[in-house]
């Protein structure tokens, strides 16, 4: 901790839920001695799609990466506060981070398939986590994961071909298939459509909607229209503070906080 007095911040709207999937209290994030996130308090509901929006540098991606400890990979990054996945403190020393990231998967901005076959990309996580015992079981898991992502019919005849040969949209759906193959509880998506064309974006958004039946999804997006389309709740970040959390329908028609209003109406960028 820094020696400075801890700053508190009251978020507008309804950041808390009954029986949340994830619970964050008084979260601060520092890069060396520079504070990037200030006293974030929020619940993430089971099987909800929640979007994190805000101007560049507001801390939304930094916050997202706290939820599966991706920030651990940055030496100078330090996270304080309480972050729980159900009853488990995800920053507890006893936590196996690899296991945590299987429970809280991640999809990145740029599709990043491994330089392997389509089949091997999806099989990778299942293999390292020992999720299947036989080749038949693994085949079934891969087919199911690709089906869920609407990719199966497009790739079933070329499973052994390199994943890098797929289109951008297909690659991103493959990355989502790879994430869900290990049966996570939460999927974090960091601007998953910003490298895709509008058609591929629509396909991924449709997929997000379908996946929300079984998974909790947190999505960081620069596109406010995307947040409005895909999420049921929206969180607005500004200069490292969580300004407002509310139902998406409220945020886009009648936000509570002036800063939220100014951002979503295009008055601050």
């Amino acid at each position: 901790m820094l020696d400075t007095a801890k700053e508190t911040y009251q978020t507008a709207g309804e950041p808390f839920l009954d029986e949340p999937k994830m619970r964050v209290r008084n979260a601060d994030v520092f890069y060396a001695d520079k504070q990037a996130i200030f006293d974030v308090n929020i619940d993430i509901g089971k099987n909800e799609v929640i979007s994190m929006i805000g101007p560049s540098g507001c801390g939304k991606s930094t916050f997202l990466r706290c939820l599966n400890r991706m920030n651990d990979t940055i030496d100078i990054c330090r996270v304080t506060g309480e972050l729980f996945l159900e009853d488990q403190d995800i920053y507890d020393r006893s936590i196996d981070v690899v296991e945590l990231r299987a429970r809280v998967g991640m999809v990145f901005q740029k599709p990043n398939p491994f330089p392997k076959s389509i089949y091997e990309n999806v099989a990778y996580g299942a293999r390292i986590h020992g999720l299947t015992d036989t080749k038949v079981e693994l085949d079934e898991l891969i087919e199911k994961s690709l089906h869920r992502c609407g990719l199966w019919n497009e790739v079933k005849d070329r499973l052994e071909e390199p994943a890098t040969g797929l289109s951008g949209g297909q690659q991103q759906r493959l990355c989502i298939a790879r994430a869900i193959a290990v049966n996570p509880e939460v999927i974090l998506m960091d601007e998953p459509c910003s490298a895709l064309d509008p058609i591929a974006t629509a396909t991924v958004e449709e997929l997000i909607h379908e996946l929300s039946e079984n998974f909790t999804i947190c999505i960081v997006t620069h596109s406010m229209q995307q947040a409005a389309r895909v999420s049921s709740r929206t969180a607005y970040f500004h200069l490292g503070k969580l300004i407002e959390v509310n139902d998406t329908s409220k945020v886009f028609t009648n936000p509570e906080h002036q800063l939220t209003e100014e951002y979503i109406t295009g008055r601050i960028g």
Partner: protein, 240 residues
């Protein structure tokens, strides 16, 4: 203007200008409709057919304004995907211009009744009370347009009470017309004409209330249609 309602300040100044233009056009359209109402009452007062011609001319302008503003709202929805206060401005504007256009139609209907009365030399007795109803309606329209221009929600709620006064005046006019018809069945045809005109004036009051509700929606984000005044006050105090 209420400081809760922002039109300017967007990163895109062109967007500011587009929204500003829509707001000005609504006020301009409101001015035309108000003039229509003035001319209609002048016609009623003075039996002067020139006024009726003016009302008809203005109605054509009002209709064009409605289409123009609607088109501008459509363009903003398509190109800008407005949200929050901007979205509410577009929705409220689109609804309000429809009400304004209908106010224009109702005023024209009254003006046509006056022409018919002049042509058929309908007795002045039949009109008793109509002018007073018209004056009350005109005042409500004038104040409604002021509330719209300044986005004053508290005044909007206060003004909503006026509708009841107009409804009461309308009922009195109707009762008088019934008495007039009872006196002589030959009066029925004339009285029915006047009754339709009174109905039009009463409807203008209802359209003003719709516009006031739109102002509340625009400023507060609260949909207060089909809600009593007490409930509206409660909702507004909750949103403070």
């Amino acid at each position: 203007m209420n400081e809760d309602v922002m039109v300017g300040g967007h990163i895109s100044r062109q967007y500011d200008e587009e929204l500003d233009e829509i707001r000005s056009r609504v006020l301009q359209m409101g001015g035309l409709v108000e003039t229509q109402m003035d001319k209609t009452l002048d016609a009623l007062r003075e039996d002067e057919s020139d006024h009726i011609v003016d009302v008809e001319k203005l109605d054509r302008k009002v209709n064009k304004m409605e289409m123009l503003i609607d088109e501008e709202c459509t363009q903003i929805l398509a190109k800008r995907q407005p949200a929050a206060g901007d979205l509410r401005l577009i929705i409220a504007t689109s609804k309000s211009v429809r009400d304004l256009e209908r106010i224009g139609d109702e005023a024209e209907r009254v003006a046509h009744m006056v022409r018919n009365a002049m042509d058929n030399q309908i007795s002045k007795k039949a009109f008793k009370g109509l002018l007073s109803l018209g004056e009350q309606t005109k005042e409500l329209l004038h104040k409604t347009l002021n509330v719209y221009a300044r986005m004053e929600t508290r005044k909007a709620v206060k003004l909503m009470r006026k509708d009841q006064e107009i409804d009461d005046e309308y009922s009195r006019v109707v009762l008088r017309l019934i008495e007039y018809m009872k006196k002589d069945p030959d009066n029925i045809s004339d009285a029915l004409d006047v009754m339709w005109a009174a109905r039009s004036l009463e409807r203008i009051g209802d359209h003003c209330i719709n516009i006031l509700e739109n102002v509340i929606y625009l400023v507060e984000g609260e949909d207060v249609r089909h809600t009593g005044i007490k409930e509206i006050k409660r909702q507004l105090s909750n949103s403070d």
